[in-house]
Amino acid sequence: MTDHDDTRPHMPLGLALRGYTGVIQHLSTKDTGSALSDIELESRLIELGFVEGARVEVLHEGLVGRDPIAVRVDSITIAVRRREAMAIIVA
């Protein structure tokens, strides 16, 4: 990878705070604690546009536990719970 974002530490989107911007590096659906199976979760995330290289920004957070979050993914806004967002590794 020659992506300049490699210089930033990789972290799950589920830990990002409001205002965070980054680029999706990969999906890692193991041990997120989501009720969905790994494959199902990965499929759904891809179907909503969470694919490698997509630009993300955390726009809003909920009141209780800063959850769920509203994430800008390229040209659309998606609401997800932090638990599912743990599968999205960004930098």
Binding site: S34, A35, L36, S37, I39, E40, L41, E42, S43, R44, I46, E47, L48, G49, V51, E52, L59, H60, E61, G62, L63, V64, G65, R66, D67, P68, A70, R72, D74, S75, I76, T77, I78, A79, V80, R81, R83, E84
Partner: protein
């Protein structure tokens, strides 16, 4: 020669404008029904193309793929594949895209192509795309995708002209094309590859200036603010409540006096007797007691459709998700449950905004626990007869406190039941994680709101009307037969089947402190809960019925113990006996089973609550 009906299907991601396009194409020539066996709305409409071809078009549930992860999405998949029972395979699939946001739809389209169905890609919302400076090389896109592409503006007059022309052109040469289905569920890596391919095609054919909708960002800064957002939500709810309770009242009164006048007319023109009683008590007041809810239903749907069209519904779900999630409810259940405070019927109908089957079912099952307006007359009667109007802690009125307690108990029970369902009952679908697109805000369109309300109101009157009508006839029959012997002075109801049933039920109801008169009142109370008040009046042979509520109160105060009264209040928190709600549950779930489950669990809760209340009250000396 008349060409056969051409079958179209609208497929696309949520919020791409399928329903708007559907409305634009068909106007009010629509049929709304349920798919057999599932809780999914099926909308079919009809129109004629410029060249005179008769067309039927189906508005399918929004989906991001053909995997079918919810009952709605299964419908879409089966429909496109021609596997849906009793449905014709669509001759032509219209894949509807939001032109400002093509990534997900192009991926869906690449998947759809594998089904071999003839297809058109409809670049909808082209007005918004143009305004934002997005340009699409339509010809090149069609070539790369191997699918005809057309732009459209569903909400503008004439905005679908190109689509209509293309439909005519394609339908003329449809039969010649062989159709082979090579679709199967995509693996994760195939999904990724398809998305890459879609992104590549978009990069080739679409120029996207990075200019997000600033209006949406500005509104969201307030509406999705963790604290401010909840305040805005509370304000919207307040206006909604106000509308449903206060603004609907004059219209409801008008309808009610209309039905009363009609009843009086029947009474005046027909001779006393069975026919008169059947028409007046059975048909007119029975069916009328349900139709008076029409203004509330129209208002609730007006609000829901407005908020949905504007794009706010997804935001309300976002704000409430964690707050409701603790009880196992989905964020989207919020509005339907709220509507249920007016009446469970519109509330249950509004659960259609919940796309996951399990979440929708849970919401339907607990909606009747929200204190509906029909319980208010019963509560008011008993509270004013038995609860002293004194102040507690100096400033709170005891009567008001009891009323509040009844509402609160309903809400808490609903949350508890949902919690139980989450853990023990419905396990056939994985619980839906909250993943929801927050669409850009759009100005609601009068036409689609009007069509939406019209179709719902029509359905309410038609379908619920027929079921409720038959229940009313049954109840009237029970309360009227057999007739009293000639010359008897006791109330006619004493001789009826209803009274026999009441007396038969008495031993069962004695442990909760109910006498046979209450048991009888519970029977006509099945038609609509507030009827129980009038029924108690009839049973205690008081003249005047509902108007003399205060007088009934005095009589009750002498005939019932405080323990019985409290037990009756506890019963009505759960009060399973509302035939119209049960009929709507049956219709919306497409299952007699879930109707039976609702009835049974509410009956059990009502009985248990009354049993505890009665015995505790007796033990405390209120017997």
């Amino acid at each position: 020669m008349e060409a056969p009906l051409l079958h179209l299907a609208l497929v696309g991601t949520p919020n791409s404008g399928k329903t708007s396009l559907f409305n634009a194409l068909t106007g009010s020539r629509q049929k709304v029904a349920n798919y057999p066996g599932v809780t999914v709305e099926r909308k079919e409409g009809f129109f004629v193309t410029p060249l005179g071809r008769q067309v039927s078009v189906v508005d399918l549930p929004g989906t991001y793929s053909l995997r079918g992860r919810s009952p709605d999405e299964e419908i879409t998949r089966d429909f496109v594949l021609g596997k849906a029972s009793g449905e014709t395979v669509p001759d032509l699939v219209l894949c509807v895209a939001d032109s400002t946001n093509l990534r997900l739809t192009i991926r869906l389209l690449l998947e759809l192509k594998r089904t071999g169905r003839p297809m058109i890609l409809v670049l909808n919302m082209f007005d918004i795309a143009s305004r934002r400076g997005i340009t699409v090389d339509v010809e090149r896109l069609a070539k790369e995708l191997g699918v005809p592409v057309v732009t459209s503006i569903a909400v503008r007059k004439g905005g679908t002209a190109d689509l209509l022309a293309l439909t005519d052109e394609i339908s003329a040469r449809l039969a010649a094309e062989p159709q082979e289905n090579s679709w199967r569920a995509l693996s994760v890596s195939e999904l990724r590859a398809t998305q890459r391919e879609a992104d590549r095609i978009i990069a080739d054919c679409v120029s996207l200036p990075a200019r997000p909708d600033t209006w949406t960002a500005r509104i969201d800064a307030v509406v999705l603010h963790p604290v401010g957002g909840l305040i805005v939500l509370a304000l919207i709810l307040f206006v909604m409540f106000q509308a449903v309770f206060a603004w609907a009242q004059p219209a409801m009164d008008l309808l009610k006096s209309g039905f009363d006048a009609l009843g009086e007319l029947v009474k005046a023109t027909l001779p006393d007797g069975l026919l008169q009683s059947f028409l007046q008590d059975g048909v007119i007041s029975g069916v009328g007691s349900v139709i008076v809810f029409l203004p509330q239903i129209i208002l609730i749907f007006l609000f829901i459709l407005l908020l949905e069209d504007f794009g706010y519904m997804a935001r309300a779900a976002f704000l409430m998700d964690r707050i409701m999630g603790g009880a196992g409810l989905h964020g989207r259940a919020f509005i339907p449950l709220l509507s249920s405070f007016a009446c469970a019927i519109p509330g249950i109908m509004a659960t259609r905004v919940i796309d996951n089957k399990r979440d929708r079912l849970t919401t339907i099952l607990i909606a009747p626990l929200m204190t509906c307006s029909a319980r208010i007359p019963v509560y008011t009667l008993i509270i004013s007869a038995f609860i002293p109007a004194k102040d507690v802690w100096g400033f709170i009125n005891l009567q008001g406190l009891v009323m509040f307690g009844l509402y609160a108990t309903g809400i808490i029970s609903a949350l508890a039941v949902s919690f139980v369902i989450k853990f023990f009952m419905i396990r056939d679908y994985a619980p839906a994680p909250f993943m929801l697109e927050l669409p850009d805000y759009k100005l609601p369109r009068l036409k689609s709101i009007a069509i939406g309300i019209y179709t719902r109101a029509k359905m309410f009157l038609q379908r619920a009307g027929t079921t409720i009508f038959s229940m009313m006839v049954l109840i009237w029959f029970l309360a009227s037969f057999p007739q009293p012997p000639a010359g008897s002075t006791e109330p006619a109801i004493d001789f009826s089947l209803a009274a026999m049933i009441g007396k038969a039920l008495e031993p069962l109801l004695a442990p909760v402190g109910f006498n046979w008169q209450i048991a009888v009142a519970l029977i006509p109370g099945m038609a609509a809960r507030e009827v129980a008040v009038a029924a108690l009046g009839t049973v205690y042979a008081i003249e005047g019925g509902k108007e003399a509520a205060e007088q009934i109160g005095q009589v009750l105060a002498t005939k019932w113990s405080l323990a019985t009264a409290l037990s009756m209040l506890a019963w009505y928190i759960f009060a399973p006996q509302c035939a119209s709600t049960l009929a709507v549950i049956r219709r919306e779930t497409g299952s007699w089973g879930w109707m039976a489950v609702t009835f049974t669990y509410m009956l059990v809760l009502a009985y248990a609550a009354s049993l505890v209340t009665y015995n505790v009250a007796v033990a405390l000396g209120a017997g």
